[in-house]
């Protein structure tokens, strides 16, 4: 069994490293610094940390002002409040002028669990992905998180990184090198491709392993950079495997599945299936129970792969 780590812990620790390396790195939070782990940065660099209280819109616009003056602000809270609560502020203060703000949010998706609907962010990727010029990243494990945080710090422009609340099993080792905008082939295969993000990458790998027993050979891609999406990897997967299943902890509308489908429809139409929430809110429950109820397990992915292959 793979070791499990908190992505947000990796985020907080990387922020501390970046803070030591670059005096322009500043951090903002909205009264959730212990959950988001920005507290680690706050303890080390208190003069460069701004707790904005429970006022996310203000936090986002302050971050924009800091960025317009040459700072590299990382602003954090839960995914459900950014971009949901601050959409207009992100749109006008950050996206339109393409300011160098990094929104790194925790508690994405339904794996938030028992806190229920109000805290389960299932629309955030659609919202943030709709904004021109935004880079959107959903890391799969702690190792990828640390590297993605470093990558966005080095990149000039608005970025969004979505992390999950629970510990995530490692899918990489320390030799992994994250590349912005590049899909990672986690497993080779020629019968179908599973494209996944976040916690669903591990589920996709489990599904592929299980399908191998049936003689189905699945390619697995981690599409951690959701935007700009790696079109070449998708087109290649469509051409070489002839069927695609996407898997995400998000609504079917406007997330990974939609982004992949746009590429597939335009360049290489093949049968697709979508593992995602189907136009519904989830409820309180343990993450595993919720994944089962809303069809986000490895078994669901397996069924989707069989169905997509049948339609070839």
């Amino acid at each position: 069994m793979a070791e499990e780590f908190y992505l947000r812990q990796a985020y907080g620790e990387t922020l501390v490293e970046l803070g030591g390396e670059n005096p322009d790195v500043v951090v903002l939070d909205a009264d959730l610094s212990r959950s988001t782990r920005t507290r680690l940065f706050a303890d080390k660099f208190p003069e460069r940390f701004f707790n904005c209280g429970i006022a996310e819109q203000n936090m986002v616009s302050i971050a924009a002002g800091l960025a317009s003056s040459g700072k590299i602000p990382f602003a954090s809270t839960f995914a459900v409040f950014v971009p949901g609560r601050c959409f207009d502020q992100i749109r006008m203060s950050i996206a339109q002028p393409r300011l160098n703000v990094k929104l790194v949010v925790g508690h994405g998706g339904i794996s938030v669990g028992e806190d229920g609907t109000s805290h389960q962010s299932i629309e955030d990727l659609a919202l943030i992905g709709s904004l021109p010029g935004f880079t959107v990243i959903v890391p799969a494990d702690a190792i990828e998180t640390a590297q993605a945080v470093r990558a966005v710090a080095a990149y000039l422009g608005p970025c969004y990184i979505r992390l999950c609340r629970p510990k995530a099993p490692l899918v990489y080792d320390q030799s992994y090198r994250f590349k912005l905008g590049k899909a990672v082939e986690m497993r080779q295969g020629g019968d179908a491709t599973i494209i996944a993000i976040g916690l669903m990458v591990k589920a996709a790998l489990e599904a592929a392993e299980s399908l191998k027993g049936e003689g189905i050979d699945c390619r697995v891609l981690n599409m951690s950079t959701l935007k700009p999406i790696d079109e070449a990897a998708i087109i290649q997967a469509a051409a070489e495997t002839g069927a695609i299943v996407t898997a995400e902890e998000h609504l079917e509308h406007g997330g990974l599945g939609s982004a992949v489908a746009r590429v597939v429809a335009r360049h290489k139409p093949v049968p697709m299936e979508f593992i995602a929430l189907k136009d519904t809110y989830a409820k309180s429950g343990k993450p595993a129970e919720l994944f089962e109820r809303y069809g986000l397990t490895a078994k669901d992915i397996e069924r989707a792969v069989r169905s997509a292959i049948k339609r070839k």
Binding site: E47, R48, V60, S61, A64, G65
Partner: protein, 294 residues
């Protein structure tokens, strides 16, 4: 007409060395003459565009002149000069007033003003910092400028810069909850190089503030949020410069100048007439207005 180069807000321009800091020896009477000229520009440009927001532009004219001619350290030939004082127009619909002021200072040619709101103009309907030299923030969605200004001021503090940040808000804009989030934060972070100026013309689109959404007691609200409050006649350049001098001496807390103004100021049929909040004058109305502004 060509678009200015895309801005890189963090870059240091090579022009910094040779560009001069703007200074004006204009007397009060001369500034009043400039005010009249800016009003003519506002009426003419919105009239030509056929749309826009003359009312809240005309009310802000003296505030902009006091700032740009007497208070701000700025270099029109080098809008990105790192040591410049920053002016943040939060009430982005007053763009025509800001554009006229920037042209008057030499940020761009006066002829550009007549391209307002046209395709490919560097003067967008609401302020767009990616295309207009001298515009610090893209605005038009109300309520965001004071927060943005806090960020700019905090960056100045971290970078040990002396620049000051001035944010112009509408009174109607203060209906937005974010303004009060920012008011709370500015006092909490003790951002004393931040000055908010409220163009307190008493009206918003649907009528008088007191009928749409009362802000009273307005000065007391700011005080309660931890701000120093100074009230001034927003059409008196001496009163405004005096107030702006006074706030420079305040340490440890932000300051707000509540500038009492008249919407549509300077054109009799536009004054206190909410119709001209977001409606441009017709050709005949432009003629009448220009006659009054001779």
């Amino acid at each position: 007409m060509s678009l200015p180069e895309k801005r890189n807000p963090s870059s240091t321009s090579a022009q910094s060395v040779k560009a001069e800091v703007f200074s004006s020896s204009a007397s009060v009477a001369e500034m009043e003459a400039i005010a009249k000229r800016l009003r003519r520009h506002i009426v003419t440009m919105t009239g030509k565009a056929g749309s826009g927001h003359p009312g809240g532009s005309l009310s802000a004219v003296e505030i902009l002149i006091a700032l740009y001619f007497k208070v701000l350290k700025h270099k029109p030939q080098d809008p990105h000069w790192p040591d410049r004082d920053r002016f943040i127009l939060s009430k982005g619909h007053a763009a025509p007033a800001l554009y006229a002021t920037l042209a008057e200072c030499g940020y761009f040619a006066e002829e550009e003003l007549l391209t307002l709101r046209q395709m490919d103009s560097c003067l967008q309907g609401h302020t767009d910092c990616t295309v207009t030299p001298g515009v610090e923030m893209s605005a038009g969605a109300l309520g965001q400028g004071l927060s943005f200004a806090i960020g700019v001021a905090l960056a100045g503090r971290l970078n040990a810069k002396d620049y000051r940040v001035y944010a112009l808000l509408g009174d109607g804009e203060c209906d937005e909850g974010q303004v009060w989030e920012a008011a709370m934060a500015a006092a909490h972070f003790k951002v004393d190089k931040l000055v908010a100026i409220v163009d307190n013309n008493g009206q918003q689109i649907d009528g008088w503030n007191r009928d749409v959404m009362s802000l009273d007691p307005f000065p007391a609200k700011w005080q309660a949020f931890g701000w120093q409050v100074i009230e001034a006649d927003g059409h008196s350049i001496p009163q405004l410069t005096q107030a702006l001098d006074k706030v420079r001496k305040i340490k440890g807390q932000p300051a707000v100048i509540i500038a009492h103004t008249i919407k549509g100021k300077g054109v009799s049929f536009m004054e206190n007439n909410p119709h001209f909040h977001g409606t441009a004058p017709t050709t005949d109305e432009v003629k009448l207005a220009l006659k009054e502004l001779e």
